[in-house]
Amino acid sequence: MTGMGIWRLLNGEEDIGQSPRFWLGAGAVLLALLLLPFYQTEFQASNAAYYLLNIPLALGLSMLWGYGGILSFGQVAYFGIAGYTYGVIAGNLSATSLGPLIGMVGGIVCCAIVGAIFGYFVFFGRVQNWIIPILTLVFTLLLETFLGQTAGYQWRIGTVQLGGYNGMTSIPSFQIGDRVFQGYWFYFFTLGLTLSAYVCCRLLVNSHYGKVLIAVREDVLRTEMLGYDIRVHQLTVFVLAAALAGLSGLLYVQWGNYITPSQVGLVPAALPVIWVAVGGRDRLLAVAIATYLLNWINYALSEAGNEYAPVIMGTLLLAVMLFFPRGIIAAIAELRRPKSRAAATVPAPDGPK
């Protein structure tokens, strides 16, 4: 593909921002993120990395729900699967410096396989649209229950113990050769991966594949009549979302060096849906911004010892669904658009009653 072609995809209309002013602003934000070590401590950079590392998960859900019209409450399941897989592989291969790299590949592959099996049953069974979120939620709850009862010495893979409700501890950080990614290094590692994930998603939604995906969301039957195998499109976007959730899970365990089953519990499962809904589910950049900000707010709330954090997040979700069904950040971005464009974007129907 030529350079012009890639630019056309990057500047497509399925995400926020095509004007030169937008790209100038995006460049300034990127510069600020790159120069972060000059004005933030290593601890603050590590926090920023935490807000960033949730973005791939949210982007995956946005692709799935906002663009594909398939809602999943179970993205954290893949987050957990990748985290645990990485912990097992990297923990067992701690003698070699290649362990973490193999662990990352293994985690993503594992997510993709589980997502493909689950998706096969769901999409090739032509399950009705409303059943999928429920099945993904049930899958997540079962995974949490399963991981919770893996306490004790008999639950170990190689030398790594799964650890029941206490979770898996002392998971190795990422490393290449002798370079261990912590502090600023981990921040840049996360920034790089998150940014690449975002750019890839943005290219994808503006490509032919993205157009078909949106067509599937708008009208399954019509898209099928035009000759597209909708099941394949739904399955691939589901696997992609699983892999992106896995990427977030990998970064999470490398960041905190531990993971517990409560990471796949009901409250963490709700959070990605909140980020995506608050941002604007069919605008990738809005989702990314909302994810960063909401993680920041959530962290600030819980750091202040505020046990109301989940209630506040739930209320936020209710308010957004009632008053900004298209998302707050997407609505703000829409304000700055020319009138004709804004009028053309009607709310995406969730399907006939």
Binding site: F146, Y308, G314, D350
Partner: protein
Amino acid sequence: MDAIGFAANIVYQFLTNASFLLLAAIGLVVILGMMNIINLAHGELMMMGAYTATISTHHGIPFPLAVLLAFFLVGIFGAVLERLIIRRFYGRELGALVVTWGISLIMGQGTLLLFGPFMPSIGIPGGSFALGSHSFATYWIALICISGLLIGALWWTYHNTRFGLMSRATMQKSAMAEALGVNTDRIYMLTFALGAGLAGISGALLAPTASISPLMGQQFVAPAFITVVVGGGANVLAGAVGSSLLLSLVKTPVGLILGAFLGTVALLLTALIVIRLMPNGISAYLQRFTERRVGA
């Protein structure tokens, strides 16, 4: 004698599991079947029923009365929810899913803040009796009967009362029903309240058998939704009965031999296989089957 006891035990376990699934799903089934709304706050409505029954029993109210109280209290709460929030999401399935999930998050965490992480549960009323070397709890046998009665009462309500007739008309074609003078808005509110009340009554009935905590709703989510998914939407009441019997047929042996967790996993796997074979659930299959029989 022990052979009889053993056989009775198998039947007892089977019916216990089936009635648990039915009770967990019944409120959900009404709301889904009549309104096409997937109520993810269902588990929390059951939790609310369980808390109502437990707190009022602790205050000396007799248990049967406490169960009725749970029905009305949660039902009224459901009506309020419908008026304020749910009615804005008719016809938007995924939107309703997300918004009810937000409600469930607020209810669960709010209860945690209000009542703390645990509450002493009430003992199982009634004793038990033995047959051979197997013992049977009277309460569970009562629950089996009650769940049968509830389904019967629902069926009767929807087929023999004016409310039932009007709600079935609303469900089939709401615009037509409205044109004929049915206040569909009110029907929707009453249906949601009924579904919430049934969730409350189920939660109250299951309260003595469960540990009472703000997050207890979660344990009903998986069985309730699997039952509904397997049952399908063609004829929700028949589907719920059929699927709870089928799922119990799977869960009982697996649970007895391999433990409760794998029993639940078996439920999910059964659900995946059933919807692969019959995408519209058991009820659609049953309906086709009976239609063929009648047609022939």
